[in-house]
Subunit: 478 residues, 3 copies
């Protein structure tokens, strides 16, 4: 039996009729606002070459660790799902992989992946039956056909999705050729980069040595000397700004920052590049580098994003067989109050500095992050992140941060995704959940309806542009 696929126009809005009607009115005003996506991981090559994608398994399943982590947890092998390993591409037939996924689609009930995918199926591809074992082939064929048409090329979808700004993320060792190609192509899509220097900042990163060498080549600096290493960062930050970047991003195991005396910094750096470092050295170097990056942000105005708290590659076997980013990263408790103090002692009251904090530890929302952002002029709160980028997660974010930090110390939504086709779905979920929260405040007479309307627009569009300085001349010129 084929089940119809209908996206209810009131999905994610509160069930209670009074609140639903308020939420619906708020949502109608922000539903069609342009998408500002200031933090994500799409591949700039898509927009540089505008080449067609091929089939749903390769496009939607094999690259999405949200999906195959859930199937893996229920005993399905990554090989059978088409996920490439370190040994090379999977031998799985894409159609077979898609059928396997379809037959397990019930596992996603109650998850955000289900909401995003159903949105992609219905809105992007116009499918009108639900995905399950019986409709797997229908889906595979319809999506494959669509992808072969010009309307489903990356740039066409970018326009159709109403994306005003899209930031990708590149490493300090990246040559930014894709971004150069996008600009050279004459296409008008505003795709910009973000400076993420983790691989040259984290001695424990598996690519550290290679990335550092490349970092030296690209900049012509002696990156094995402390002054040369800092100069190389400054040069690359300028390169990234020339490719439109307004922000940097830092994905560290913890939020620790440091502020060592000059001699200790240099001695630590010598150990780090000389190879004689310990785990404590690695942590301290990452900590010190957050403060160095803040110092450069004070100089060059780049917004700084800190994404701490994931224990990466928790499953050693999987990491060895399949590599990074395969759904085996697990959040851990994260301290901010002591960790950020060294950086804040240096720059916490600096007018031009803006640091956006993320967390995977929701217990820090009300206890640490909202009080920090509700005091320090340089701090703002990034949206609910990763495992918490979901209806319940976003609701908890608002419930636990708003009363202390207000709405204006938050920065709107980040989709943070590699899954380009899901970007409209993710922004739609965020807009609906924010409107639902605002509707509760209105129906409980905690704010007025006209205030909620202003806030809905801020949360959906304006805050992201301001927080990432996309409303400033430098960004517009990019």
């Amino acid at each position: 039996m084929k089940r119809p696929l209908n996206l209810d126009p009131d999905r994610l809005l509160p069930a209670e009729p009074g609140a639903r009607s308020v939420a619906r009115a708020l949502y109608e005003e922000v539903r069609a606002l342009p998408i500002v996506s200031p933090h994500g991981h799409t591949d700039p090559d898509w927009f540089a070459t505008d080449a067609a994608w091929t089939n749903p398994a390769d496009l939607l399943l094999a690259p999405d660790h949200y999906l195959y982590r859930m199937l893996y947890s229920q005993g399905v092998s990554l090989e059978a799902l088409g996920v490439p390993s370190k040994a090379g591409p999977s031998a799985a037939d894409p159609r077979a992989a898609w059928r396997l996924f379809a037959s397990h689609y019930h596992l996603f009930r109650g998850t955000p992946s289900r909401l995003w995918l159903d949105h992609v199926f219905a809105e992007v591809f116009g499918l009108d039956v639900r995905l399950d074992a019986a409709t797997a082939d229908h889906y595979f064929d319809r999506i494959t056909e669509a992808l072969a048409t010009s309307a489903f090329r990356p740039r066409a979808l970018f326009d159709r999705f109403g994306i005003e700004w899209l930031a990708t993320t590149e490493g300090a060792q990246d040559d930014l050729d894709h971004h150069a190609a996008i600009r050279a192509s004459g296409w008008g899509g505003q795709v910009i980069t973000t400076y993420r220097p983790d691989a040259v900042v984290d001695p424990e990163h598996e690519d550290f040595a290679a990335a550092l060498a490349r970092f030296g080549d690209l900049t012509g600096e002696d990156v094995h000397s402390w002054p040369g290493y800092l100069a190389a960062h400054r040069k690359r930050r300028a390169d990234f700004r020339a490719a439109g970047a307004t922000a940097t991003d830092h994905g560290h195991p913890t939020a620790l920052t440091g502020d060592l005396p000059q001699a200790e910094k240099e001695a630590l750096f010598a150990r780090v590049v000389g190879g004689g470092w310990t785990k404590d050295d690695a942590e301290l170097f990452r900590a010190q580098m957050l403060t160095e990056m803040a110092a450069m942000s004070v100089e060059d105005g780049m917004v700084m994003q800190i994404h701490p708290g994931a224990f990466r590659n928790h499953n050693r076997w999987l990491h060895e067989a399949y590599g990074r980013d395969k759904g085996a990263d697990i959040p851990a408790r994260t301290d901010y109050v002591r960790a950020l103090k060294p950086l804040l002692e240096r720059f916490g009251n600096e007018p031009g500095l803006s640091i956006i904090l993320f967390t995977l530890d929701e217990s820090s929302y009300a206890r640490e992050l909202a009080p920090l952002a509700g005091h320090y002029p340089c701090l703002k709160l990034g949206p609910a992140w990763w495992f918490h980028d979901s209806p319940e997660g976003m609701r908890r974010f608002r419930e636990m941060t708003t009363e202390t930090a207000g709405f204006y110390n938050t920065v709107g939504f980040n989709d943070d995704t590699r899954a380009f086709l899901s970007i409209p779905a993710r922004h739609d979920v965020a807009r609906r959940v924010d409107c639902a929260f605002l509707a509760r405040l209105v129906t409980e007479h905690r704010i007025e309806d006209w205030e909620a309307a202003e806030l809905a627009r801020e949360l959906s569009y304006d805050l992201a542009k301001r927080a990432y300085r996309l409303d400033e001349p430098r960004a517009q010129a990019a």
Copy 2:
């Protein structure tokens, strides 16, 4: 004034009429499903002898630390409530103890104990006025009379409650005679045991030496040698499986696991049985034994339950006067991400292994446990436990785990109780709270109504049978 006691048919369902109507429909379909109780602490002697209970104070009050801990917190003495101490049975008259309890029954407003007890009073005993000082004697008399009748014997209630499976918990040093007597009696009730070796695994357990000696006697192994000690575990696990066990259970202070080299394991064991161990040794030995138990589960297919995080016997005076399990256990923060890594490095990707994780630290639900269970094939999440086995606690469990782990990495409900008469009440609360959560997802158009109906049945019945392997031939043969 006597207040009527009515259990509202819509209790615990959402107040909003639309959601309530969805929840009610879901609940109606699962209300009468058989009870699967795969983890609990009822006394198997009740079912072996089928002897009558005597009065409500001895049956409902004196053994229930949920009840007397609350009264104790408000200054009522345990002696007056009939709780036995190490010095012997309480001298309190049962009727006087019951009156004392009844006159403090308002203390339980808003607690799950109140919900469970009112269900027992109304549904099991047919009482129709509320318990308070004025009705204490009426309650005492009615319940005492009922207990004297054959309809209130343990086996009769087991049948009346619709229990399909009931697991008790016995120590590695237990002879399992009660379970043998149940099987020998010809009674058809499926009462099985669970292997809980804490007393022979935890050097800090007050019965460690005696339990270890008994463990050796029962198995004929030299339990003071490492190979003999492991062989004894294997023998007893086989004994327990013969008494129907499909699972083991491990109640450790923390979730720490270990994976020491062979020589270090043996040296550690020598210290543990030789008496020269430190607190760190004790923790490390418990940690290593979780990994050894996982190794045996890979061999014999027993499902492993880990229940960490209680600081046992926090009140030293009470512990010395009254002993263990007297309501003075307090949860503490619990780490899983680092603690489980040694075990997961060994067995995390093992197809046959199933480990069910519990927590008393709700901050780990979304941050650690859901991401772990949403990735590792061997991990599933036990339901909200102990202090959190309550309407708000269960709701938070679903809200904080579903989006990352889905429903299918959870295992249905555990009543975890010594209070046999409350088992239907506890399952009923769990079914209602789950239906309420599902109804919210339906009314917010996050799942379809037919999916909610499937899930309600899974959460109420099927998941528990599958997770505890009660649907497999081995279990059926027990």
Copy 3:
């Protein structure tokens, strides 16, 4: 455009009509109950002199760190807001400061400050348009005029607000002259003090040496000897009781308690007053002093409040320029289970002792604090505190503590404020949020409506009087 300011009579009550109607009925019965404010920080000099306040900037803005911390977080200088620094009073014109505040009032959308202020504006001053840049002068003029009238003097407002008891907080080194003046004046307002010895207990307090010297002068004891120091505490506690105090208060960085042998206590004290102490000594001394204070509470019956977990003066520059209590205190994770054990081993089962615990770490509500308060006779839970004294914060407090600790191990509401004019607003918010929570329990058939009515009164009035022993003869005689 001037926006009307109307306080909706149903504000903060649930949106769902059935629950709202139950909540409204509950609220109507407690709305006008007298205010018991057993913990706060108003200035007793106001009630001693009954002098008029001057203008809204000096009265409402410059002393309220909830307000200027939010503006500071958005780049507004404290100087411009009229906040005095260590260099002296701000040079800002009060009207200009008020205009600056008014033009940023939208920052408070969704915060409790907004609820409290709108209540003050509408109910205390009768303003009927909303505060914004356009109405700033109107507000400034109307409020300034009102403050010049006798109806807005402190004692007149005290009476108008229906305050039955108001506790202020004074240090051990305070001479209590204001309280003596209040009593000598013949005015009938029940304004009492609270014994807060932090400055003479915490070697890291910036005023430790001076406070200790003053402590010695006031008591005539040799406060540099351990027996003299303890005797001084006893004398001052008696002084405070004579000024109406029924409680002590302890604001420590952590909840650590200690129970050292006599010789170690004396050696530690010698280091603390001798100046050779370390940070660990300071922490241990504070810990030991909590236990000493509990010992004295067993003797003299004073209720003990523990307020741990704030990292004070996190912003070093701000602390150096502006001093303490300037909105730069940030909560940190707080442990109670191990921290309180030394004190509880000594006094946990003591019948006369009452300790009220507060937290800024909500993750401890369900995990630690409710289980502790639901067992130990000496422990009760203070209400949601500081950053959590807000609609969402209070709701989470009830949702996470009630099921384990019940309502009767909590102590009603504390407004904890320096902002005298906001006291009715804060109690009104608490009463509404509690009635909303109770209404949910009623509509979900978890308690009866008559029970909710009893509880609403307990939470609004009775519990606070009993918990702080304001219903006992000693308090009445003050």
